[in-house]
């Protein structure tokens, strides 16, 4: 299962009792899960069930209506036991709430986790920069592959360094930093570094999107149905990139409606249906002996709406 050699210093991402809605319509209700370092979590569920909303909340795009999203150091309770019980969730909840305002660093050093939305904007930006999100749809900037892969590195640099980079690009003397190239290498796109992003196929574009997120060496990589429109070869490349990320100690959360993919790559699986997480545990357990009846039907490929 989980290999934990390279997870030192990596943060885990915790969602705790997260609820969210739009214009009064509830989309997510009381979802709790953890993305552990060096672990792949599959979030499975039919389209329109709130997976994208959940990932956006995990990526700290917006504040959940209720519950908390936090990044914390240290092993999570549920990886140690590999089984999640309601007690652990309750533990996490009391820890988090009791801690609000008590510390100034983002995330505790001893396994507790402060609500990212109780932090200052700067602290939250620092946490946000430990998380990479790859959207489902093509979202490359109208520029070279190299520019796209280096974008996240660029925004983390000083104003002066960025100005130098754009001057270099203007006179054609810019080349992407090594981290961007090696991320492109991971998804097999290093040779296309000078190509314009608009000329890529959807599979290639998605791979560059993954490289853009990986280049900054995030602690958590969130992938929103990254292979839903891709052919088997591109799918395999992206799944390999997930394994590579996992091997580097990055925690990966993958929203997918492809059950086989979840079984192939995920250590843990959460089944989200109608905005609630009805099943959450080790992938094998979730698929072999789901406790919830609708989860059993869903992973068996039956329609549950």
């Amino acid at each position: 299962m989980s290999h934990k050699e390279n997870t030192t210093g990596r943060l885990r991402l915790v969602a705790d009792g997260v609820s969210h809605g739009f214009d009064g319509d509830s989309v997510l209700e009381d979802v709790s899960l953890t993305v552990d370092p060096g672990d792949v979590l599959a979030i499975v569920g039919p389209s329109g069930t709130g997976k994208t909303t959940l990932l956006r909340l995990l990526a700290l795009f917006s504040r959940p209506d209720d519950g908390r999203v936090a990044l914390a150091e240290g092993e999570s309770v549920d990886t140690v036991s590999t089984e999640l019980t309601p007690d652990h969730v309750a533990d996490a909840r009391t820890n988090g709430h009791g801690d609000v305002g008590a510390r100034t660093n983002g995330g505790g050093g001893d396994g507790d986790a402060r609500d990212a939305w109780s932090l200052s904007d700067d602290e939250r930006l620092r946490l946000r920069r430990r998380i990479g999100l790859v959207a489902q749809d093509r979202s490359l900037f109208s520029a070279s592959v190299g520019y796209n892969a280096a974008y996240g590195l660029g925004v983390r640099r000083s104003r002066a360094a960025r100005l130098r980079s754009s001057l270099r690009r203007t006179v054609g003397r810019w080349s992407p930093p090594a981290a961007a190239l090696s991320a492109l290498e991971t998804v097999g796109m290093a040779e296309m570094v000078d190509k314009h992003a608009d000329s890529l196929s959807s599979g290639e574009a998605q791979r560059v999107g993954v490289a853009r997120a990986l280049a900054v060496d995030p602690d958590v990589l969130l992938l929103d149905e990254p292979t839903s429109n891709l052919d088997p070869r591109n799918t395999a490349v992206i799944e390999d990139a997930m394994r590579e990320a996992k091997a580097r100690g990055i925690g990966v959360a993958l929203a997918t409606h492809d059950m086989d993919q979840a079984r192939r790559v995920a250590d843990k699986t959460a089944v989200v249906l109608g905005g609630t997480c009805i099943e959450y545990g080790p992938t094998e357990r979730v698929f072999e002996s789901p406790r919830d009846d609708r989860a059993r039907q869903f992973v068996a490929g039956e329609l549950v709406y």
Binding site: A59, F61, L125, R128, R129, G132, L133, V134, A135, D137, R138, S139, L140, F141, S142, A143, Y151, G152, V155, R156, H196, G209, R212, A213, V216
Partner: protein, 228 residues
């Protein structure tokens, strides 16, 4: 043509051209600096009165330049609120009126360019760790072709405009060399036309056309160069 130019003092031609270029370039530069951040705010902001503001900006594209000139004249005249600045009948006054005329054009075209940048790209910039400023800069970068078009449209409005610069600039040339102080190519044409020097007027018009052509060619190069 050659005889038409022959009537013109070279110093006169050069100084008139320079005033035209100087006033319009500074005015459009100011318009652009105002328009870029405002276009981001208007395109992506959600605030009451947004529709009204957009309507006002679009109406501004059709501001009659003589009316703008008159309002600037009254504002800058000795009895006006900004009379103390003593700017009336200076190139600065012309810059003010041309900025007022060019800004709605630059702004309006910029807003549509910025609005056309998809939310998915803004999200991607944010997800890659960008701050709101980074996202704004990325959007401007994505909208760069449209923004160059906006700047060119604003420049076209400014450099070809005659009504307001005539009113607030005063169409002044200094003797003995006929050096322009506030005379532009457009106001020079009106002078020649009134004198019946149609050939000279046409020659000045030709210079103006060439200038506009060169500016647009440069803009086109910038736009296409960014495509690489």
């Amino acid at each position: 043509m050659i005889s038409a130019f022959g009537d013109l003092n070279l110093n006169y031609l050069v100084s008139v051209t320079f005033v035209s270029l100087y006033v319009s370039t500074v005015a459009v530069a100011i318009s652009t600096l105002i328009s870029l951040p405002v276009s981001i705010g208007v395109a992506f902001g959600n605030f009451p009165g947004k529709r009204l503001l957009t309507t006002v900006i679009n109406t501004g594209m059709g501001f009659p330049s003589v009316v703008v000139g008159l309002v600037v004249l009254l504002t800058l005249s000795n009895a006006g609120p900004l009379g103390e600045l003593q700017l009336l009948f200076t190139p600065q006054a012309m810059i003010i009126s041309q900025t007022i005329l060019a800004t709605p054009v630059v702004l309006s075209v910029s807003i549509s360019a910025v609005e056309s940048v998809g939310g998915d790209l803004r999200d991607a910039a944010f997800a890659a760790g960008g701050t709101n400023t980074d996202v704004g800069l990325l959007v401007l970068r994505e909208a760069r072709y449209g923004i160059v078009t906006a700047v060119l449209a604003g420049y076209g409005r400014a450099i070809s405009e005659v009504g307001s610069v005539l009113i607030v600039g005063g169409n002044i040339v200094y003797p003995p060399e006929q050096t322009s102080f506030t005379r532009t190519l457009t106001t020079a044409v009106t002078v020649e036309a009134r004198r019946g020097n149609y050939e000279t007027g046409l020659a000045l018009g030709a210079v103006l056309l060439v200038l506009v052509l060169v500016v647009n060619a440069l803009g086109g190069r910038i736009r296409d160069g960014g495509r690489a």
